[in-house]
């Protein structure tokens, strides 16, 4: 019965100890600095990580998405300072993806062509929930050669509420109040946990409600904090605000450029 422990070394402790002793003998016999002179065969790697991060917050009648606009090549040199990671698909759906930029563009094309076909078939725009399910299935269709992206879909759903759907690379969908993806995700998410989810403060402590102004300032501060500490986040914040019943507003705000 293979138990799903979700970790690689599922050996029992005794086997693990025997394996460790065996490794000790091997390394003592031929240490890596003697054997490591050989030129290792280049393993085929179809992906690369273009860095940058995105985040999204949804309130009761709005959804805002922000991302930085820097594209980096293997963590060091900057390819461009205004890469577009947020794509507004139609007036109620915003797709924002981070990760391998080739897959980012491919995902956008897949969704745009399906939305176009939906408009052709039903003469109506796709709603956010429908598009979210569609994206989850399409991510999963490449289960054995996945898109190397952390996708996020935000927008206003059918009954006018803000919605943020977060995905893992093969399409595990989940609707959340706020979410982030990309290189600086571990820095943005705990900050939003504390300020929006109010999970860390005591029960009786005052918890300010999430208005759109507060959400926008939280998003800006989250990215400023991330730009301070993460090397592939910076240059500009691309902020997209979707409010129920209002056209989508896009803004660019400056960030550190070093």
């Amino acid at each position: 019965m293979s138990n799903f422990t979700g970790i690689t070394a599922t050996m029992n402790p005794l086997a693990e100890m025997a394996q460790f002793k065996q490794n000790m003998r091997e390394v003592a016999a031929s240490p890596e600095w003697r054997t490591s002179k050989l030129i290792e065969r280049q393993r085929w790697n179809p992906y690369s990580m273009e860095g940058g991060s995105t985040a999204a917050i949804s309130g009761d009648n709005f959804a805002i998405v922000a991302s930085d606009t820097r594209m980096t090549q293997n963590d060091i040199n900057i390819l461009t300072r205004d890469a577009e990671k947020i794509h507004v698909l139609n007036d109620s759906i915003i797709l924002s993806t981070s990760g391998f930029y080739g897959d980012v563009i491919q995902l956008r094309k897949v969704l745009q062509s399906r939305l176009h076909k939906y408009r052709f078939d039903y003469r109506a725009d796709m709603s956010a929930d429908l598009c979210a399910e569609l994206l989850s299935r399409n991510l999963y269709y490449r289960r054995f050669f996945p898109y190397y992206t952390g996708a996020m879909l935000a927008g206003i759903d059918e009954n006018g509420k803000g919605a943020v759907f977060s995905y893992d690379p093969i399409g595990c969908i989940e609707r959340l109040g706020y979410s982030a993806s990309g290189a600086a995700e571990p820095m943005i998410i705990p900050f939003l946990d504390c300020q929006i989810g109010h999970v860390t403060v005591a029960e009786d402590y005052e918890k300010p409600p999430l208005t759109i102004e507060r959400a926008i300032s939280l998003m800006k501060d989250a990215f400023r904090g991330a730009a301070e500490r993460e090397i592939s986040t910076g240059d500009k914040i691309h902020l997209v605000i979707a409010e129920a019943g209002k056209p989508i507003v896009q803004k660019f705000l400056p960030l550190r450029e070093d």
Binding site: M1, S2, N3, F4, T5, G6, I7, T8, R43, W44, N45, Y47, M49, G99, V110, S113, R114, K117, S136, R137, L139, Y140, Y141, R142, R143, F144, F145, P146, Y148, G150, S166, D168, P169, I170, G171, C172, I173, E174, L176, S181, G182, A183, E185, P186
Partner: protein
């Protein structure tokens, strides 16, 4: 299809049409082939190197969980009996908790549920496929599908992808004409019917509590409390489980979903109940 009538294609452009069709339309599932890696690259080893332990924090697949289900008869006539399904709600990728509120009890029919353990995306997708099959079955046969048939279809579907790296550990539970049934289905394709079952990284802890307190005849209240307590102990000891405990009670007549209970609150209540002072006393 409309593609051909639009203009006449020679043969090699036909594959283009089929590819475009696959690309544009919802592929009918059974003859759908997943796009595969170039020849010579093993999917499992490729997945491990790009999405496994050494991958970036947020690029790992969401995994790890604790799910349990058990069947019990009503001890007193006031109880309804049936199946208790309890799950936690954490999806972790490596040591990073990618989500704290995943709904891991997925509906198949209106009387059947499947639980999610192992790969979150795999379970979500394949449960929807099984749900689609069950609804079509009901429309065709005009009788609700039995749990064993649904779980058999699930196992066959997974068997087709053995060795390609799918990770599913699901329990299909439901009430049908043969009574309450729980079938455990794995991505290795094995399927067995059990009375008490737990799957996931916290399953060992959950089994400890279940084996200790499980009685074939229990009151509803006692059974629900046992489900909650087992999940709480699993989340305490296992770092891959946590968040809130979702509980679903399938009775002979209907399916009741209880509101989620925060596991950490349960733990503090459990400590007060035992009168144990679990708070760490600060020292130098």
């Amino acid at each position: 299809m409309w593609g051909e009538t639009f203009d006449d294609f020679e043969s090699e452009e036909r594959e283009l049409a089929v590819a475009k069709q696959n690309f544009m339309h919802e592929p009918a599932n059974m003859n759908f082939t997943f796009p595969s890696l170039p020849l010579g690259i093993q999917p499992v080893e490729f997945m491990n190197s790009h999405f496994g332990a050494t991958a970036a924090k947020n690029m790992k697949f969401r995994k790890g969980t604790t799910t349990l289900a058990f069947v019990y008869e009503p001890a007193t006539p006031a109880d309804k009996g049936g199946i208790i399904v309890a799950v936690d709600s954490r999806a972790s990728s490596g040591e990073y908790i990618s989500s704290k509120s995943v709904m891991k009890i997925l509906d198949i029919g209106d009387r059947m549920v499947a639980t999610m353990a192992g790969g979150a995306a795999d379970c979500q997708y394949w449960t929807r496929i099984v749900a689609k099959y069950c609804t079509l079955y009901e429309l065709r046969e005009k009788t609700p599908i039995t749990v064993s048939a649904a779980s058999k279809y699930f196992a066959n579907a997974l068997f087709g992808y053995r060795g390609k790296g799918l990770s599913v550990g699901s329990m299909v539970a439901g009430y049908d004409k043969k009574g309450p049934q729980i079938f455990k289905v794995d991505s290795d394709g094995d399927r067995c019917s059990l009375k008490v079952c737990s799957v996931g990284s916290g399953s060992l802890n959950a089994y400890g509590i279940l084996d200790n307190h499980y009685k074939p005849k229990m009151t509803d209240e006692e059974a629900r409390k046992l489900g909650l307590r087992a999940i709480m102990h699993a989340t305490f000891r296992d770092s891959g489980s946590g968040g809130v405990c979702n509980l679903c009670h399938i009775t002979p007549t209907e399916k009741i979903r209880l509101p989620p209970m925060d596991v950490s609150k349960l733990w503090y209540e459990f400590a007060d109940e035992l009168g144990r002072d679990i708070v760490y006393d600060p020292r130098e």
